[in-house]
């Protein structure tokens, strides 16, 4: 079986589980919303202020929500030793990892699609003219978030206190991604929206480095 086909099967399984339980998406969206609302109390969101803090706030909300949402990705495979069953399948370990990454990407993307309009309304930022470009920035940032997050979810699943450990491992590693994503988003939220190519290239570079590293290391990550 090719890696792509195996990854697609893992992806379908993840989506089906989520469709049946509907617990991950709803909690993630509500959690991110809570952060966005809390920030509006911490900073006064007038139009000028929200242009300055808005992008950072948005990405902090995504990063926090992601670091919580990615936890069950591997942790719930522990409960009935289903990860062992997955590993016994004659597919490359990268297919399992890739399937989970794709599923997590879809979950994050759906949460972001719900959150961004709400955020724009609450913080008075008009996103009408920049939807396509914003989607590109969000996509590149989210790829980096889920690639690193899925790998670290597999690491944290074997540790004690894994709910606490995953954000601890993930958030500092994502510092460069946060800077690049916030700067790229900020240039879109400015008076004269522009796509910052340097930061986009940086985001793409981050994604490539982490995806390559996880491809090289996945054999060790999912070994018994």
């Amino acid at each position: 079986m090719t890696t792509a086909r195996a990854a697609a099967i893992v992806l379908t399984k993840e989506l089906r589980m989520e469709f049946r339980a509907r617990e991950l998406l709803s909690t993630t969206v509500v959690f991110a919303l809570v952060i966005v609302v809390l920030f509006s109390f911490a900073f006064d969101p007038t139009a000028g202020e929200s242009r300055r803090y808005g992008p950072g706030l948005l990405w902090i909300a995504f990063l926090f929500a992601g670091s919580l949402m990615l936890n069950p990705s591997f942790a719930r495979e522990q409960a009935n030793q289903t990860l062992d069953a997955l590993r016994m399948a004659p597919v490359s370990p990268f297919a399992i990892l890739l399937g989970k990454m794709l599923a997590n990407f879809i979950f994050m993307a759906v949460s972001e699609a719900i959150l961004v309009p709400v955020f724009a309304v609450l913080y008075n930022i008009s996103i009408g003219g920049i939807v396509g470009r914003l989607a590109l920035v969000l996509a590149l940032g989210t790829v980096g978030l889920v690639v690193a997050g899925t790998v670290f979810s597999a690491i944290a699943a074997h540790a004690r206190m894994r709910e606490l450990l995953l954000p601890l491992l993930l958030l500092p590693i994502l510092a460069p991604l946060l800077i690049a994503a916030v700067e790229a988003t900020a240039s879109l939220f400015a008076e004269q929206p522009a796509l910052d190519r340097a930061w986009l290239a940086f985001l793409a570079g981050f994604d490539i480095v982490f995806l390559t590293a996880s491809w090289l290391l996945c054999d060790f990550l999912l070994e018994e």
């Binding site: 790998v151 930061w199 940086f202 982490f210």
Partner: protein, 235 residues
């Protein structure tokens, strides 16, 4: 072992003396500049230790020889200590030189993030029971942390920077006074020697821990075996 420790201790004392009394006064920053000799030496020790940790992490994943795992954790611990020394000396120097304790400059931020990442590495090790798995997963995290360092640096470089560019290997008018250069070399050698000494000790400690675990396991296994014999002997 004791002779080596004494030699390194003497070297460190001499380096401290040289930095405080032998090195000439710096023209703009005066006395506070003397912290520089240990500041730079700490960073070099950190860089060496963490690079070695990366090599050890990759080598463990490829070869599965336990000594690479021992070397990896020893290097990270020594690297974190050197990083702490570098951060503290940097903060002490920053206040008089820049007028602020801390600034989010590329190098400072990179050092700070590295410090947090490798502390997380040590935390991660503490939270995984099974030795084989602990070694693999922490090695994977170590590789990711090391790959992240240049990205943190590049992102901050693109963003903002305040730390002075290196003056030692710079253009024509840059460079150190010859005495300063000698004192710097003494300090770097002393700090590196201390790092290697601590690293060797830490490595031995890790090996002893491993041997102890093996012994415990074999005693447990024997205990289980004798229990089975007993139960079998019963009618």
């Amino acid at each position: 072992m004791k002779g080596r420790s004494a030699a390194v201790a003497a070297l460190i004392f001499f380096a401290g003396y040289a930095a405080l009394f032998i090195a000439p006064d710096e023209s703009t920053m005066h006395e506070i500049q003397r912290v520089f000799y240990f500041h730079l030496a700490s960073w070099m020790a950190m860089f060496t230790a963490l690079s070695l940790a990366f090599v050890a992490n990759v080598a463990w994943l490829v070869t599965r020889k336990p000594h690479w795992d021992w070397l990896g954790v020893s290097c990270v611990e020594v690297g974190v200590v050197s990083c702490t020394a570098g951060l503290i000396t940097g903060v002490l120097w920053g206040r008089p030189a820049w007028g602020i304790w801390w600034t989010w400059d590329a190098r400072l931020t990179t050092a700070f993030i590295l410090w947090i990442l490798y502390i997380c590495y040590l935390l991660l090790r503490g939270l995984i029971e099974e030795p084989q798995r602990r070694a693999s997963l922490s090695a994977i995290f170590g590789v990711f942390a090391f790959l992240d360092a240049p990205l943190v640096y590049a992102s901050n470089r693109l963003w903002r920077t305040q730390h002075p560019a290196p003056v030692i290997f710079g253009g024509e008018n840059s460079g150190l006074d010859p005495t300063m250069g000698k004192v710097l070399v003494v300090c770097i050698v002393a700090v590196m020697a201390m790092m290697v000494l601590v690293l060797i000790d830490r490595y031995r400690l890790e090996r002893m821990r491993h041997d102890l675990d093996e012994l415990r396991l074999s005693v447990d296994a024997r205990g289980v075996a004798s229990n089975t014999v007993l139960t079998k002997g019963l009618p």
